[in-house]
């Protein structure tokens, strides 16, 4: 079992929108090479992209660890941002605290977290105000 794990690590820099999405597109390529079905790749890369962007616009960047096994793909996004006051509210479609600058770039629909929830099989958020947020998501390759 343990030998069958592929691990990838990414560092997301704080406010560099120009590279935002690099980690998710890199994972997308790896999954393609591994022959993972397209619909699984779509779920993983959309969830990762949304999470990666949130790390850039709401926190100061962070670290992403991805574990790929034949059964599932797990993505752990860890940032040292401000934390999320009320996760339930943040999860609601349309809720956003994005500022004017990032809204001009097309962010701030308040759909990122709902998209992550929708495209993953498991999603766990742990957050501490003033310390940071960890979003842990899993997509199953085979039906459980």
């Amino acid at each position: 079992m343990a030998e069958n794990v592929m691990r990838l690590h990414y560092t997301v820099s704080d406010t560099d929108f120009a590279v935002a999405g690099e980690a998710s597109s890199s994972v997308k390529k790896v999954l393609k090479q591994l022959g993972v079905p397209g619909e699984i790749i779509r779920k993983v890369s959309i969830a990762m992209y949304e999470c990666e962007i949130n790390m850039v616009i709401h926190a100061d960047g962070g670290e992403i660890d991805v574990e790929i096994t034949p059964e599932k793909i797990r993505m752990i996004h860890k940032d040292r941002g401000p934390g999320i006051k009320d996760i339930e509210t943040a999860m609601q479609e349309g809720y956003s605290t994005a500022d004017e600058n990032v809204r001009e770039l097309g962010f701030g629909a308040g759909m990122g977290l709902p998209n992550m929830k929708r495209y993953t099989d498991e999603m766990n958020i742990t957050t501490v105000i003033g310390e940071g947020t960890t979003v842990d998501m899993t997509v199953y390759v085979k039906n459980k």
Binding site: A18, I46, L105, G106
Partner: protein, 109 residues
Amino acid sequence: MKVKDIAQKLNLTIISGESNLEREAENCFIGDLLSHVMSHAQSGDVWITVQGNINVIAVASLTDCAMVIICEGMKLDDAALKKAHLEEIPVFASEKSAYNLACELKELL
């Protein structure tokens, strides 16, 4: 209808993705809020937007749109342009409004 035929009929200016013009486009989605587009655009869509930053290319790639039309004379910025070429995503520009493009598309799709 094929991307290249849509481009010709709508009089679009090609920006990138010359290698992917044979693909069939099936439907159309209009939107500028990226994560909203992410949840609603479908594979094979013509996506019409006024946004021109690099994240448009990321979203187009993730949703597997057949083509992107940057409307109302808006421009792709340099970083977006570079990524569009790299990912070979068919991106076009038009002076027309999203409404006018959609009206014309209705006759084609």
